[in-house]
């Protein structure tokens, strides 16, 4: 559950996380996160997502394949939300591994959420 401090450790860690970037429509970036979001892996993911958010009207972070969401990952989502609440959308929130921490921390209601990335794209393209 480290955030900034662990950044230097991330290089030593066999990082079990991946982010796939898709650009389904102009202005919409879908970032599919796979693996474990802990204090070691989150800083690198946050950097990637921040870069994408800078060039997107909508950033859909698909957490449907996330296997672990630690408090540093929650802090990451809050930071992205703080930067611009209109840009960040969460997809894949039915994933139990994500839903439970989001519910316990009361953060689920903070984000604009969709069951799947496709739902998000459909909703955002017509808005």
């Amino acid at each position: 559950m480290i955030d900034d401090q662990a950044e230097s450790l991330a290089g030593l860690h066999d990082v079990p996380v991946a982010v796939e970037i898709e650009l389904p429509l102009a202005g919409i970036v879908v970032a599919r996160v796979h693996g474990e979001l802990d204090f070691l892996t989150t800083p690198a993911v946050l950097r990637t997502l921040r870069e994408q958010a800078d060039h997107a009207t909508h950033l859909v972070v698909d957490v449907g394949e996330v296997e672990f969401m630690g408090s540093s990952a929650l802090a990451m989502l809050v930071a992205l939300h703080d930067a611009d609440p209109a840009v960040l959308h969460l997809a894949g929130v039915l994933n139990r591994k994500v839903r439970r921490p989001l519910e316990i921390t009361g953060l689920l209601g903070l984000f604009n959420t969709f069951d799947t990335a496709e739902d998000a794209i459909a909703a955002l393209s017509t808005s």
Binding site: I2, Q5, A6, S71, A75, I104, G106, L107
Partner: protein
Amino acid sequence: MIQAAGGRDLPRRRDNVQTLDGSSDPQVPFGPALETDEARSAEALRLAAVARYDILDTPPDGAFDRVAALAARWMDTPIATVTIVDEDRIWFKAAHGLDGVTQVSRESGLCSSAIQQAEPYMVADALTDARTTANSLVHGGAGVRFYAAAPITTSDGHRLGTVNVLDMQPRDVAESDLSVLSDLAAIVMDELELRLSALHLVRAERALRDQSERAKAELERFASTLQRTLLPPALPEIPGLELACHYYPTSVRLVGGDFYDVFPIPGGRWAFFLGDVCGHGAEAAALTSLARYTLRAAAWHDPDPVSVLTELNAALLAQPRDGRGMVTVMAGVLSPEPDGGFHITLASGGHEPALWLRPDRNGGTAVTEVWPQGGMIIGAVHDAAFAVREIHLAADEALLLYTDGLTEFPESGSGFRDDDLSRFLAELGHRHPRTLVAELVEKLSTFDPPPADDVALLAFGPVRTDAME
């Protein structure tokens, strides 16, 4: 030829100075040159220089032996030595053609005179030379007739000792041969300088290593001291309630972000909280401190758990953005009830649900989550909402508060995941807070891999009056 008084194994102590000719030698600490204050202070500086090179009483060394051998060969003398002039002795770093001699007294040695001058010193025939006619080496059994020496001079002008050649025959040598002796003395000086800088390097390295080890120990002491200040020294005694707690830190240095406290508030009630700061290290420690003291102060001001969490939320969001962090907290108030139970008001700030252990109909334990749903993590948003649950904790029941380090283990390991904790508690066969915490801690120590995050545990339950006695 020349014999040492005591052979090879003579102790190299100043109080056991030998003579070259086997005669006993009265100790004369200083020669005539040291009769003035000026001379004495110059000698003190010279001795300090000798000490600086830390060469006295060191074992034989090939480099110096070769210089002595070279001097003997070049000058064609049976004996050549490299000597250092100490306070009351002349110590031989190298001795070619002398067997087993390690030192002689300053009085009997010839190089006491040789270090008085910067140029090479030569006695062509010691029997007739006024400078040496009184010397015991010349008139004793040694029978030295020829002696030449060049001083070993430091860059700041101190003459530490000499490179010497000796013969039993009188002779004369050319100026150029004497300058060879000076060159050899300069080589000895270079060797001493090299040796000294290597010595300094080793010492500096050792000092650095010692320093870094001290700094490391200091840091760990500091961290564990800080850690202790973040935890209550002991839980209070609450009449009719058994309380137990445990803190499992994953690392001494990564001062953790878990905390808890139980303390009295006005009206015969007790406030408690248990929380988890997102992060580790110094920043998390600072945040832990802020959270702990804000919660304590807020509970005194208004013990209602929702207003306590609201105040902490405001305090965290008032922090400068770069020092901001999030905290999950379970906070509550305990009020004793006439029936021996306790009324508990529990509010969650995005924290793991508490676990309520109650007897079930079959004589076992039922474990339910007490989850004031909707309580938000603290420090995330300004208008955070906090929910409350109220329960009556009856005798023979217990409530466990914990941080998520207890339940977040990788799929592949043996740690708790999902409902494992509830199942473990249900299968314990009792609901005694102290035993329950002890058994959890025991279980925790068997997990492979061990917990990746700190674990804080706080458990309490009403005790029957008869059980208290």
